[in-house]
């Protein structure tokens, strides 16, 4: 049951990419970025107010973490431009490659004060399969 729910989360992520991509086709990237972040800010604010959530932090937060949202703008920009140009499937597959590279670097060096997890050579076999999959996808794209 929870396995199906995890897949449903994946479905939601793709639907989100599709929605944001459709928005960019109609309004262009810069307007879409404002619309996406304005609706998100409002929706979460309403949720927090309805839940009467506290805005007092539990513990102090490193100031640079507040900037994650600014980087998110660039992330959404990349996503909506690629989705409209090369389609959802290829965007998702290439995004996975970026995720694997970034998480391997973060883990190997223990960045963001996370526990160090050394790069494992055995995983090259899996990466070979992933690279082959991308090659097949991009073959006729």
């Amino acid at each position: 049951m929870y396995q199906a729910s995890a897949m449903a989360i994946g479905t939601l992520i793709t639907l989100m990419l599709f929605a944001n991509g459709s928005l960019q086709s109609a309004f262009g990237a810069s307007r879409s970025l404002v619309i996406i972040h304005a609706t998100g800010t409002l929706a979460v604010l309403v949720y927090l107010l309805v839940k009467r959530a506290s805005f007092k932090g539990k513990e102090p937060v490193k100031p640079f973490l507040y900037l994650a949202g600014a980087m998110g703008v660039l992330l959404v920009f990349f996503n909506i431009t690629t989705v409209t140009a090369i389609g959802l499937t290829l965007t998702i597959a290439l995004g996975l490659v970026g995720q694997i590279i970034a998480s391997s670097v973060v883990d190997h060096y223990g960045l963001f004060a996370l526990e160090k997890r050394r790069w494992n050579m055995k995983k090259l076999s899996g990466f070979a399969l992933i690279a082959a999959g991308i090659a097949v996808m991009a073959w006729k794209a």
Binding site: I9, I13, M16, V76, L129
Partner: protein, 160 residues
């Protein structure tokens, strides 16, 4: 160029998740999502004004007519965070990544086929190979690190 953009976006998803999960740890999950979107709004507004002032983006051929579902992006993002909180703690972390990817890519295949009007078998075979590779590496991870339980917020919070 587009391929590079897509890979960079994936890398940013990871950075975004790590940063936002640490933010969520300090201020609360949905408070973190709020800060995330608000910072995004404060960034995207000047970007929009700069783009229109210097005419960086050709908006002339835009239709300005979007279907209703195009406006749902942010709501999906919030639903994803909420769902991750419930679902992720209940399944082994190594497989959650594979399952989420599978859901993503299958939905992508279906929507791409609907948009293009034909089904591309190359993309389906590619998706199968990628999922197999991901599953293999997930098993290797499970053997070396043990099936560590994920914090719910590590997967969903960066998303949008």
């Amino acid at each position: 160029m587009m391929y590079l953009f897509a890979i960079l976006a994936g890398a940013m998803v990871v950075l975004s998740m790590v940063m936002n999960s640490q933010l969520a740890h300090g201020v609360g999950i949905f408070q973190g999502v709020f800060i995330n979107f608000a910072a995004g709004l404060l960034t995207s507004l000047p970007v929009y004004f700069l783009c229109s002032f210097f005419e960086l983006e050709a908006l002339g051929d835009m239709s300005y007519a979007a279907p209703w579902y195009a406006f749902l992006g942010a709501f999906y993002a919030i639903a994803i965070v909420a769902a991750c909180n419930v679902v992720i703690p209940k399944i082994p972390v190594v497989y959650s990544a594979v399952l989420i990817f599978l859901g993503q890519i299958v939905t992508g295949l279906v929507l791409d086929a609907l948009i293009a009007g034909f089904f591309d078998p190359y993309k389906a075979v590619g998706a199968l190979l990628i999922t197999a590779g991901l599953f293999l590496n997930a098993k290797i991870d499970a053997e070396t690190n043990g099936e560590t339980d994920a914090k719910p917020e590590t997967v969903g919070v960066g998303v949008r």
